[in-house]
Symmetry: C2
Subunit: 251 residues, 2 copies
């Protein structure tokens, strides 16, 4: 491998991971399912849902008392007021709140629908919240896999977000460990000798999106191994993927 | 293959494509480079740059007379007034124009920086424009490959766009042929029997992003074969990936 562009990349689903419960050791479950299928230099993309479950980031809506504001918005748009209350608690700022949709900025700085609060794939009257610190979650999984398997990997914790201007959701990286999330080509030259501009690639997000192609939505594949991708090793974080407020034209 | 989630997916770079010139038959060049490396059911992601070059969507800036408005914006922000003029001509609406950055909606409906006008990877005093109709471009390449190889493929024409709220660019699908660009899971149930909500996946964009992992930015890989991805065959278009104005909270 000499850099991006050389060689084939493989996307391998990690199947057979049991239902994850609060307190579970996620790395143990992933090693149990993937067996010796993980190799040095792989990128392991783990969907945040199983990370949140293992970390106990599940909330029982029966314990949530909605505020008058949450009640009023929920009533107007036919939503569950307790769920609206949780979305507001998980937000530090509302970006848009219209037509029953809440786009907000989470306490981590992610801008997404419903502050990442999700009722699907969670049993009962409960909702799943984003991990408190997805970079720390990714680092814990990476450290744990290194200890168990003696392998150096990159780990990405992913979720699927909507976008401005485009329909549908795509997977993005919330947390990153062991790699730089951005590939900066600024200053490099194209094949004609002209400098490349506007060329900072969000490769961690592209890895997350690629993983979705084998994870699907209903198929119970909580992690994907990406093999032979020559990621840039380093102490990168998912936070680096967030636009600085001062540079953001769409806050 | 029983659906997304089963089996491994491979990303294979198409290397050795010569410099593309206006009037070139792109499918011929791709077949020449990929040889018999293309198989039935592959997704071929082609970067728009070579499509635009083959279609002659290259503009010589020496032939562009900038308007007073373009001159004034360019002077204020240290830009080439002829390039600003081209960006404005390629736009049907400016979404944000601030700090030297133009985010606009192209005549096709794409919202992106500089209306997709790009000076990198183009020799001389020239710029590359987006294909006039990327869906038609994708369909032509697909039809041509079917005629030459007797294979049914999906084709995606891609470009890299910035995003609101997140740093870096990721590849997205401009044009699509032979597949549905969105996978709609609404109404399906999660493993706990609860309906999935907000679950329309922009799989064509995720295929575009995945392709970037082997195409890179400087490595001269203008196309990527994605093998073993069970895409949904159908008459989908890249236009389906654009948010309807009435639903868009960020116009």
């Amino acid at each position: 491998m000499t850099g991006p562009g050389s060689g084939r990349v493989e996307l391998l689903p990690v199947e057979g991971v049991p239902e994850v419960r609060p307190g579970d050791d996620l790395a143990d479950l992933l090693v149990g399912a993937a067996g010796d299928g993980i190799s040095e230099g792989d990128v392991l993309v783990v969907t945040h849902k199983v990370v949140s479950k293992a970390e106990g980031r599940i909330l029982d809506l029966r314990e949530v008392e909605p505020s008058p504001f949450a009640k009023s918005f929920a009533t107007e748009h036919g939503k569950d007021p307790r769920q609206i209350e949780v979305v507001l608690r998980e937000s530090r700022r509302v970006v848009r709140m219209d037509r029953g949709i809440i786009i907000s900025e989470t306490h981590h700085g992610f801008v997404c629908a419903n502050a990442g609060v999700d009722a699907s794939n969670v049993p009962g009257d409960r909702v799943c919240l984003l991990p408190l610190d997805p970079d720390a979650s990714a680092a814990r999984i990476r450290d744990s896999l290194r200890t168990r398997l003696g392998l150096d990997l990159a780990v990405v914790v992913s979720d699927s977000f909507g976008r401005a201007w485009r329909t549908g959701i795509t997977n993005v990286a919330l947390g990153v460990a062991g790699m730089e999330p951005l590939d900066d080509y600024r200053g490099e030259l194209d094949p004609h000798g002209y400098p490349l501009t506007a060329s900072v690639l969000a490769t961690a997000d592209e890895l997350a999106s690629a993983s979705e192609l084998v994870a699907g939505k209903t198929s119970g594949v909580p992690a994907v191994i990406i093999r032979n991708y020559p990621y840039q090793r380093g102490p990168g974080t998912g936070q680096q993927l967030l636009m600085e407020p001062g540079r953001d034209l769409f806050r």
